[in-house]
Amino acid sequence: MPIAKVNGVEVEFEPGMTVLQVAERAGHEIPRFCYHERLSIAGNCRMCLVEVKPGPPKPQASCALPAAENQEIFTDTPMVKKAREGVMEFLLINHPLDCPICDQGGECDLQDQAVGYGRDGSRYAENKRAVDEKYMGPTIKTVMTRCIQCTRCVRFVSEIAGVEDIGMISRGESAEITTYLEQAVGSELSGNVNDLCPVGALTHRPWAFNYRPWELKKTETIDVHDALGSNIRADARGPEVMRVLPRVHEGINEEWLSDKSRYAVDGLMRQRLDRPYVRRDGKLQPATWAEALGAVAERFNAAKPNKIGAIAGDLQDAESMKALMDLMDAIGSPNLDCRQDGAWIGGGERGGYLFNSTLAGIEQADVVLLVGTNPRLEAPLLNTRLRKQWLAGKMRIGLIGEQASLTYGYDYLGAGPASLGKLSKDFAAALKGAQKPAVIVGMGALARDDGAAVLKAVADFAAANGVVRDGWNGFNVLHTAAGRVAGLDMGFLPRAGGLPAVDMVKKGKLDVLFLLGADEIDASATAAFKVYLGSHGDRGAHGADVILPGAAYTEKPGLYVNTEGRVQMAERSIFPKGEAREDWAIIRALSERVGQTLPFDSLAALRAKLMADHPGFGQVDYVAPGQPLNLKALGAKGSLGAAAFASPVKDFYMTNPIARASATMAECSAAASGARAMAAE
């Protein structure tokens, strides 16, 4: 490897690295505004100036200068200091001094770097420029006078998000960042531009003027709004999660976060179940815990075990599912299911329901076939990875299912199951010749009556195309529910003779139905006594006979397994609302009244039992790509339906109870469907 000297110390670097990266490698921080390692290089803020020998006797922008063998880089000479002070002074000429009323205050790159690298005072006495306000959508608050034209937002939306919506119009002093005719940014990742903005020009609209960053208690935890398990940091003040920001996890979300994961947090303060309810005289009425649990236990004890059923919802942590599963097994009920959408998946080999290539690993695939999925809506941060590789010209993508704008070009190969057999010759040849072919099958293909047959067809197709080969497993199931894989891993599935979720809600099948946060299944047909344990007064609670208030994902520690089978540990940021309790504790209390006391009194004991019974849960943040998989064993024989695949996500912003309770998500949903909300401001 070539060697350069940074401030007199030799550093090895890889060919192609820039001077800035080499200096960072040597441990010297280079101030910057426009440069961002995941975006293309713009080189327009000039903050990263350094002195380089050999070279012209002037400071050089290190972010855009390739490092060379035997180069001498200086980051602490008087010339560099003066250059940084000069650049900072120019940047501040037109930047308003409104830090006290700016939401970026306290976590502002410009503030920090002005302190670190700027002059102590201003010599500028002229008028500052002012820029008209812009509308960019319900997630982005703009104060464009603060903009320093770094163009990070422009590059993010066009390169990563894949919608060319933001641009810089005019030039020179009149340059302005805007969307075309001030339309909303049409991306599910729009919130990331607020993170990227190094100043207070773009800030989080839903959280405007709500907090100061130093007031917040930060908790590192896991997101549940899709099945990726994005790493997040929940920032809380008192009893309220004020905001959610992404954490860096190269294997999952890189450093981005979808708008739903980020802005649905206001849903945690609305529609909450904060006390138990029991239906009396046809109406849900407040009750004490003793009354509510007593009413449930009475029905449990009265019903025959095979007339009791339990359905686990999409946002459930592994511990609560384990507690409920153990309770049902103790009672002797065979009716358990964690697949409320009716997906025909689970049981058998673990690889049969996982995203086997792993999320980061899918970037190695050269030909990808999407079956019955719209990754842009189901997993926006998986979509960015596909787009990244497509943009680099390294990936060819085919789609069977709903035609939609996916931010990359794809071969459209058909709408329904029959299309698997008649791919275009061109694409079929590409798939045959691929080094690392991959198939991504979504819930749109599996959550239907012929799901098992579709799974078999896809698995056979994958086997015929060598999707699983030595050291490479490209058979991928893309889940949409954060709790699904954990449920499948522990076997929260119908026992012998048990009913699947779709049958449990049919009329006359059950006497008691326990809904563990299950809101996406329509249980109105069954006359069974319905118990709902969950956090929000949503679909599940509306028809319930007893409501047991549980904790939302920010209010309980828990294990989640994402679609690639990675176990992740979420932490508690705030306490459950009102009289609500952690889900596992409620089930534990119920078990005592049912006469089948569960053998754990603490979460630690429950976790110990979970990991003892299902050792996979002990491997936190671990995935093993390229595991062998017997594709022949997947699915079941059956006739394929003619119906076209439809993505399970109809409205990206409204997929779960938390999002449906969120005012921000409602606004985003309206903006996305074309109706721009008329704000009262």
């Binding site: 919506d165 933001i166 641009g167 119009i169 005019s170 969307t179 075309y180 005719l181």
Partner: protein, 220 residues
């Protein structure tokens, strides 16, 4: 230069005329299919030729034609000040105000324009004139000058400027070129050439016979 904005009042639609479309196709042929967005500047220019200015529907039409995002065409159209974002008069007078022209009296020309036409950058009420101040048009040796529609009018004085405006108003077409007191062609010295006047230079009589061509190979 002030902030450039799209005009408040926009036409409902834009359509390429047949003649424009022919020229557009000429430009499109110059670029490979996947690089056709390179033709954005010539096409913006053609649209401006057709309509006199670049309207918002035209920007969308160009973007659709070239497979670009609308914002990308808007960026280009707002970047270059030659693209008129508001309707302009039939006669567009662009007075150069950069240093050489200013030293030679362009401010006086602008005063005339203001008196005869009205405020800078505003179309006259009859829709005939718009005058603008522009940066250097590269005819400094003929300062002060103005570009009127497609032609340069050079060596102007307040009087000639006024005359030209009056002529346009009367429906005449004043001749382009130099308006110096003693007329000159392009940037010749005023009053005719000052050097290389000897006619002998041009009839061959001053030439010496060439005895030996330089750099010929040596005879063998």
């Amino acid at each position: 230069m002030s902030v450039r904005r799209l005009a408040k009042e926009q036409p409902a639609s834009f359509k390429f005329s047949k003649a424009t479309m022919e020229k557009v196709n000429f430009w499109l042929k110059k670029y490979p299919e996947d690089r056709k967005r390179s033709a954005v500047i010539p096409i913006l220019w053609l649209v401006q030729k057709q309509e006199g200015w670049v309207s918002e529907p035209a920007i969308r039409a160009i973007a659709d034609l070239l497979g670009m995002a609308y914002i990308r065409v808007l960026e280009v159209a707002t970047f270059y000040t030659m693209f008129q974002l508001e309707p302009v008069g039939k006669v567009l007078i662009q007075v150069c105000g950069t240093t050489p022209c200013m030293l030679r009296g362009s401010e006086d020309l602008m005063k005339v324009c203001k008196e005869k036409i009205g405020h800078k950058d505003h179309m006259s009420a009859d829709g005939l004139f718009t005058w603008q101040e522009v940066e250097c048009l590269g005819a400094c040796s003929n300062a002060p000058m103005a570009q009127i529609n497609d032609y340069y009018y050079e060596d102007l004085t307040p009087e000639t400027m006024a005359q030209i405006i009056d002529d346009f108003r009367a429906g005449k077409k004043p001749r382009p070129g130099s308006y110096a007191a003693q007329r000159r062609t392009t940037s010749e010295p005023e009053g005719g050439p000052m050097t290389l006047l000897d006619p002998k230079l041009y009839d061959g009589s001053a030439a010496k016979p060439i005895k030996k061509l330089p750099n010929l190979p040596e005879p063998a």
